[in-house]
């Protein structure tokens, strides 16, 4: 691993390594330039605006937020597809954003990516064999026998039986659930330390979702994988994660272990999410849900101070609309960015 030796550790990285964190996100900012008709800068889309957290080895966390909250940009930055504007992504003590392309390959082989759209995530003109061989070939596994062995092994792990039947098939011959299993297999085939799953089940049928979530959880436990599970559906997180991070308008507003969050959520936005998530109950039809009106804010001109303040039922004038709240910690491992806890 001479690559690691080449890169000198910064103090932050050394600290992260000491903490035993696999992945450390430090004050990450990802801003996209907004160009007006190709000339001149019209401003920035502040997709991720100051996010910090650590992910331990083998830990599963969920990032929950609605569309436009920046979770996709966060995910792409973690995957190395986008360069951060400020701040850093540190993996095993190595700053990822400083890596050059050859060194990136090492990082990329350690992170598996599971996408939302199972059909779109697979090249329609490649067979399952081809799709699964690609990451191996790119990462230098030249021996065909070894490749086939690994393909067999990984297909067994995602429970596609009999393996031989599926290898020559093309994506359009598979059901949604089977396609997603191939996507998961592809993410695992390089034996990564970490998986990033972006809404992995939201495009699947209800009856298949549970199956896939179970499969992911099983893989996480057996391989001691760290998983970042990104979703907008709060009801699935309890089956899959240990900690939940709630994201709004580019910032993390609450971080807590699952039980703490579900029972003692503190941020008004988290409350709103929970209120808006229904369980099947006939009584639901008889009452109106108490949810804040309006829409998530534009990330080009986000509201001043706390970004949720225009919709917050508990907004404190001259505080919430002026100054961004820091992270308060009402109990260990529970951080909330809300002035209500001052």
């Amino acid at each position: 691993m001479s690559v690691e030796e080449k890169i000198e550790a910064t103090p932050a990285q050394a600290e992260a390594k000491q903490n035993g964190a696999l992945l450390s996100i430090q004050d990450l900012h990802v801003w996209y330039e907004l160009r007006r008709f190709g000339f001149g800068l019209a401003g920035y889309v502040r997709a991720v605006d100051g996010v910090t957290f650590d992910l331990g080895y083998g830990e599963a966390i969920a990032v929950v937020g609605e569309s436009g909250c920046g979770k996709s940009s966060l995910m792409k930055t973690i995957l190395g597809l986008v360069k951060p504007t400020k701040g850093d992504v540190v993996f095993e003590g190595q700053s990822v954003s400083a890596l050059r392309s050859k060194e990136m390959r090492w990082y990329r082989s350690n992170v598996g990516y599971i996408q939302q759209d199972p059909y779109g995530a697979l090249a329609p003109f490649m067979s399952v064999q081809g799709i699964l061989s690609e990451p191996l070939i790119i990462n230098g596994i030249r021996d065909r026998v070894e490749r086939n062995e690994r393909i067999h092994k990984v297909l067994e792990e995602v429970k596609m039986h009999p393996v031989g039947d599926f290898i020559p098939k093309f994506p359009h011959m598979l059901s949604g659930g089977q396609q997603q299993r191939v996507v998961i297999a592809r993410s695992m085939i390089l034996e990564p330390r970490m998986l990033v799953a972006d809404e992995p089940v939201s495009m699947l049928d209800a009856s298949v979702r549970v199956e896939i979530l179970r499969l992911l959880r099983g893989l996480q436990e057996s391989h001691h994988l760290a998983v970042i599970y990104i979703t907008h559906d709060l009801s699935t997180v309890r089956y899959f994660s240990e900690r939940i991070f709630v994201m709004y308008a580019g910032q993390m507003v609450e971080k807590a272990p699952v039980d703490t969050l579900l029972n003692r959520a503190a941020h008004p936005y988290t409350h709103a999410l929970m209120e808006a998530t229904s369980d099947p109950d006939a009584a639901n039809a008889l009452k109106f849900r108490d949810v804040p009106p309006g829409e998530p804010p534009s990330l080009v001109q986000p509201p001043s101070g706390c970004r949720f303040h225009p919709r917050c039922p508990h907004m404190i004038k001259d505080l919430c609309d002026v100054e961004r709240p820091p992270e308060f910690e009402p109990e260990p491992r529970h951080q909330v960015a809300c002035w209500l806890l001052r």
């Binding site: 995957l79 190395g80 597809l81 392309s101 990136m104 390959r105 990329r108 082989s109 992170v111 990516y113 996408q115 939302q116 759209d117 779109g120 995530a121 697979l122 090249a123 329609p124 003109f125 690609e134 990451p135 790119i138 990462n139 093309f170 996507v183 592809r186 390089l190």
Partner: protein, 466 residues
């Protein structure tokens, strides 16, 4: 790959595609046969000619099978060679140096029309470098026993005797015309050719040939020891072969056959070259974006404005007409055209696909993504365009040849039409000369178009079922 093949099998459902495919296969088979049976050097020899290559053939003769449609049988060429023993040979030794060699040619003539021309080719052989020339005298005998002398000629090497070109002989022959045969005034004005006179049937008021066995007796007197002579007698018919002949007496079959591989290879190479290059360049531009993409787009736009055919004509007129140069130029000018714009539109969409993002996430390099992930996506859509494009280039090559800018050394269909046009074929009623290459060109276009449009329906699912 397997998916492509499965799609190809769909072709069976479209009758037009099957017909198109058969036509194309026929052309390909012709091309292969031609390349084997008449290899390039042979083809050049037959086409560019030189000494004696075309002698056997009549000039401007329609194909022989035309006789099937006619009630009056038009004569075919009769070729008798003394070297092949088709003449009776008698040698009389008069003295030590003098010999009289008599060559007698007999042939049956049963046609309803007169031969085009009569020629005797001589191949005199002398032992000394400056010999005393031998001397040949001709006698002509008709089936009904009439005889006349046709004069004499001295045998310089490679001399040929053409009765129709000897004005003195023509005057003499006037006496040979049987009474009772009436010629129109117009014919009398033009002059009656020797071939007509020698074959006239005395019993018919309208000029018609007498059928039966004719004999030509050539008496050659040699004045040196060791001198010898061989001769060939030709009665040129008015028809020849499968395809007829042109003004140089060339058998058109050579050019028609050779046109097939030339047209097919030009068309296929041009179509493939432009399509593959356009795909690759569009993919690279779209993927890398930025300056690369902008540069490619601007080059394309400028190129699309340039006049295509005039540029080809200029290069052909002022520089070189080599077909390879033309091919390269055509490909170059076409790559940066509408193809790139269309492909780019599709690639821009495909670029955003999740599987491309996934490829980046497991470390695929840029070139790999372009060629292994982007380009294969549009191959099914490109195949029909490729097939339909082939006849465009075939016609382009033919057009250039027709304009006189074709490769001068190659026998191609366009060249035939060019020659025909230059010789005023349509005015002279030599329709076969124009029709034969034209039909072949149309057939090529038809075959590829039918197959191509059927493939379009197969590969483009939105058009399915139409």
């Amino acid at each position: 790959m397997k998916r492509l093949l499965k799609n190809f099998r769909e072709i069976r459902r479209y009758p037009s595609a099957v017909i198109g495919l058969l036509i194309i296969l026929g052309l390909v088979a012709t091309a292969i046969y031609t390349l084997i049976a008449i290899p390039y050097p042979e083809a050049i020899r037959l086409w560019r000619g030189g000494a004696g290559v075309w002698d056997e053939y009549p000039k401007l003769a329609p194909p022989a099978w035309v006789n099937l449609f006619r009630s009056k049988k038009v004569p075919e060429t009769i070729f008798l060679k003394s070297t092949e023993g088709e003449a009776e040979r008698q040698v009389e030794q008069r003295s030590e140096a003098t010999q009289i060699i008599t060559l007698t040619y007999s042939f049956d003539y049963n046609y309803d029309e007169f031969p085009q021309e009569l020629v005797v080719f001589f191949d005199p052989r002398y032992e000394t470098l400056t010999p005393t020339l031998s001397f040949a005298a001709f006698t002509w005998r008709t089936p009904d026993g009439r005889e006349t002398s046709l004069g004499s000629v001295s045998l310089t090497p490679e001399v040929s005797f053409r009765p129709s070109q000897d004005p003195a002989l023509l005057r003499k022959l006037k006496k040979f015309i049987p009474e009772g045969v009436v010629f129109s005034d117009k014919k009398l004005e033009q002059g009656i050719p020797a071939e007509t006179v020698l074959f006239l049937d005395p019993n018919q008021p309208e000029p018609a040939p007498l059928k039966g066995t004719y004999t030509l007796i050539i008496k050659v007197t040699t004045f040196e020891p060791g001198a010898d002579v061989e001769a060939s007698f030709v009665s040129y018919g008015q028809l020849y072969g499968i395809a007829g002949t042109d003004h140089y007496r060339r058998d058109l079959t050579v050019a028609l056959l050779w046109g097939a591989p030339v047209a097919l290879s030009f068309g296929l190479l041009a179509a493939l070259g432009t399509t593959v290059s356009s795909m690759a360049i569009a993919a690279i531009g779209t993927w890398f974006g930025g300056v690369v993409d902008q540069a490619i787009q601007r080059i394309t736009e400028i190129n699309m404005v340039l006049p295509f055919l005039p540029i080809l004509i200029m290069v052909g007129t002022f520089y070189s007409r080599s077909i390879w140069l033309m091919l390269a130029l055509v490909v170059l000018l076409t790559i940066f055209g509408a193809g790139i714009k269309n492909f780019r539109a599709i690639f821009i969409q495909v670029k955003e696909s999740p599987y491309i993002e996934a490829a980046r996430s497991y470390g695929a390099g840029n070139m790999r993504i372009v060629f292994r992930y982007l380009v294969p996506r549009i191959i099914p859509m490109v195949i029909p365009n490729l097939v339909i494009g082939v006849p465009t280039y075939v016609f382009l090559e033919a057009s250039l040849a027709y304009l006189g800018l074709g490769d001068p050394s190659l026998p191609t269909w366009g060249k035939i039409i060019n020659d025909a046009n230059a010789q005023g074929a349509l005015y002279n009623g030599q329709y076969y000369w124009v029709l034969e290459p034209a039909v072949l060109l149309m057939l090529t276009g038809l075959g590829f178009a039918m197959l191509g449009y059927a493939l379009d329906r197969i590969f483009n699912p939105r058009l399915r079922g139409m």
